[in-house]
């Protein structure tokens, strides 16, 4: 890959190019940040309203007790998947384009998982009682959590994922923080010096660092695949029609990677402009990201088709009824938005010209994010609303409470992401140097 990339810069330009820009981002950065803060305020006030008034301010109603908030949870966990995929799996595959985007993708993962982690708390309403099911502690009756419950698995999976992603991200940051320490003076130097643990960049340190990085990547690879599989078991382990299917784990993983990659692209394009990183994040790297998105989009397309086929082929009338209703029933709007956004629009990327057209690609990437949100909504709501007994059927309608909390989650996510962009190098400098032409005295 790097052979094809035309670098106009050498490794000597990396630190200057990336760090100088952090100090004076484009004014649009502050506008975007301010907008994120407004969204956080909307979300926080909605949450306060929910705590005072009760969970009834959301659309949750019998029999749909998992509404928009669990949709948001699954959506944000899914967004969090591309980061570790890009960092770990592409690292093991030696895909060089990852070196320019991995830092922002990892940051995205960390903040997305933190955002996701809020939703079970928001969802339960009186969140202070949630303490009883968080740590594996017996309650007053000496009763332990049920380790056979997918929800407990999910807790373990998500917290492991958050911890490992955080470590992976921070580990990558250490040499770069040392680079900043060596550029700044006074108090800043002390802070960055502490944050980089006193990294000196000796051959020995690099040797152990590389070994540790490879092991962490090897551990994180099955983790990425497991986390969304386990999230899918929250659904698939039940007997609810539309959920109880073995295709769920791979289907969820593919969907998560699709939404994550689309989000990486959505974030990279503006950030690359705001911080003037066009020389380092090259069009070739953006294109590689799109190719991965296109690949996962086709996998998701296939999964949608197989899901329908299996529902029909199983001969199970309850299963088929749900799928029929998804396509032409009361939730058909959500279903077709999902199909068009995730499967049809990305097909435009088969054309190289379109892949390299940033405006078109940006629109498609945002549409994929919308589509993936609708996918989760579609899965959760349509299955819950109408199960085996027509007498217990209901209908779900999102309320302003749901919308406010969802807006708040986007604000919260971008708020942290922008803070990160301002104070940390959003391109991994030490890894970027690795894929640039090596500094050799004689040209080979």
């Amino acid at each position: 890959m790097s052979e094809e990339v035309k670098w106009n810069r050498t490794i000597s330009d990396v630190n200057n190019g990336i760090l100088a820009n952090l100090e004076r981002p484009h004014p649009t950065f502050y506008v975007a940040w301010g907008f994120a803060i407004i969204c956080v305020i909307i979300g926080a006030s909605t949450w306060a309203w929910e705590i005072t008034k009760g969970v009834g301010i959301t659309g949750k109603t019998s029999p749909v007790y998992w509404g928009v908030l669990i949709t948001d949870f699954v959506f944000w966990v899914g967004i969090g998947h591309a980061g570790t995929l890009i960092s770990a799996i592409l690292f093991l595959f030696r895909a060089k384009w990852r070196n320019t985007v991995n830092r922002s993708a990892e940051a995205m993962t960390v903040f997305a998982v933190i955002t996701a982690g809020l939703f079970p708390l928001i969802h339960v309403g009186r969140l202070w009682f949630a303490l009883y099911w968080f740590p594996p502690l017996p309650n007053t009756n000496n009763l332990w959590p049920n380790f056979r419950s997918p929800l407990v698995w999910d807790l373990f999976a998500i917290s492991t994922y958050l911890t490992i992603s955080l470590l992976f991200w921070y580990m990558g940051l250490v040499p770069d923080l040392a680079s900043i320490r060596d550029r700044v003076k006074g108090f800043k130097r002390l802070v960055y010096g502490i944050m980089c643990f006193g990294w000196r960049g000796t051959a020995k340190q690099w040797h152990h660092y590389e070994a540790g990085y490879a092991f962490l990547a090897a551990l994180a690879t099955p983790l990425v695949l497991s986390v969304h599989s386990i999230v899918s078991w929250d659904f698939a382990m039940s007997i609810q029609p539309g959920w109880h299917t073995t295709i769920f784990p791979p289907y969820f993983v593919a969907g998560a990677i699709l939404s994550g990659c689309a989000m990486v692209y959505t974030l990279l394009v503006p950030v690359r402009k705001m911080f003037r990183m066009e020389e380092f994040i090259r069009p070739e790297h953006l294109e590689a990201c799109i190719k991965l998105t296109l690949l996962t989009s086709t996998i998701v397309f296939y999964a949608y088709a197989v899901e329908f086929f299996v529902a029909w082929y199983s001969g199970n009338p309850y299963e088929w009824a749900i799928f029929e209703k998804r396509a032409i029933g009361p939730y058909a709007f959500y279903f077709w938005v999902m199909v068009f956004c995730n499967c049809i629009f990305p097909l435009i990327w088969w054309s190289k010209r379109m892949r390299n057209n940033v405006a078109v690609s940006m629109v498609v990437a945002v549409l994929i994010n919308v589509g993936m949100w609708f996918e989760r909504y579609n899965i959760i709501v349509s299955s819950l609303a109408e199960d085996f007994l027509p007498g217990s059927w209901g209908h779900f309608q999102p309320t302003w409470g749901d919308i406010g909390l969802t807006i708040g989650s986007f604000g919260w996510f971008f708020f942290w992401f922008f803070i990160f962009c301002k104070f940390f190098p959003i391109v991994s400098m030490s890894e970027l140097k690795l894929i640039m032409p090596k500094p050799l005295s004689k040209k080979h």
Partner: protein, 173 residues
């Protein structure tokens, strides 16, 4: 506190020159405790240094195994502590398949934590008394520091021959 020795610091601009110097240094015994600095993890440097496999792997293994045992142990022990029949299924050994998830997640979690610990321990980090010999080593320059060497000594001569762009005396501190 023990004083850190002074010595000669050679700064290199090119990767092949520093690896060339490293290979020559390896066969000699007057370069005891020398340090090599690099802005990033070039494999050429690792090869030239001739390090064996990093012991970080033992940390990872120990962490991962502890995690597996803890995961299964936690789930099984709570089961024996208060047996519950869920969905008509007995706990304990009958529920092992369900506990694979817990065992797996804790394997990864503990393995990852220990990997980080291993990297820190082996890399002598965190290091509050570190000495930054040259700020350019985290930017684009390579370096070799030879403790207790003199500018007019044999070692400095060899470093210069290999193409060092700068040789500097570092005072003990």
């Amino acid at each position: 506190m023990k004083k850190r020795p002074g010595g000669v610091l050679a700064v290199y601009r090119y990767l092949d020159q520093v690896t060339d110097a490293m290979k020559k240094i390896r066969d000699r015994n007057d370069f005891k405790d020398h340090e090599v600095f690099s802005p990033t993890s070039y494999h050429e440097i690792e090869e030239a240094a001739g390090f064996g496999a990093s012991p970080v792997r033992f940390f990872t293994l120990a962490g991962a195994l502890t995690g597996t045992v803890t995961g299964f142990g936690l789930a099984l022990w709570t089961d024996f502590d208060w047996p519950m029949v869920v969905g008509g299924k007995l706990g304990g050994l009958y529920s092992i398949p369900a506990y694979v998830v817990i065992g797996f997640e804790l394997t990864i979690l503990f393995g990852g934590l220990m990997t980080i610990l291993g990297m820190l321990v082996m890399g002598r980090l965190p290091n509050p008394t570190q000495r930054i010999l040259d700020p350019r080593f985290t930017d684009d320059r390579f370096g070799i520091f030879v403790p207790n060497a003199k500018l007019e000594g044999e070692q400095a001569k060899l470093l210069k021959q290999c193409g060092a762009e700068e040789l500097r005396l570092i005072e003990p501190m």
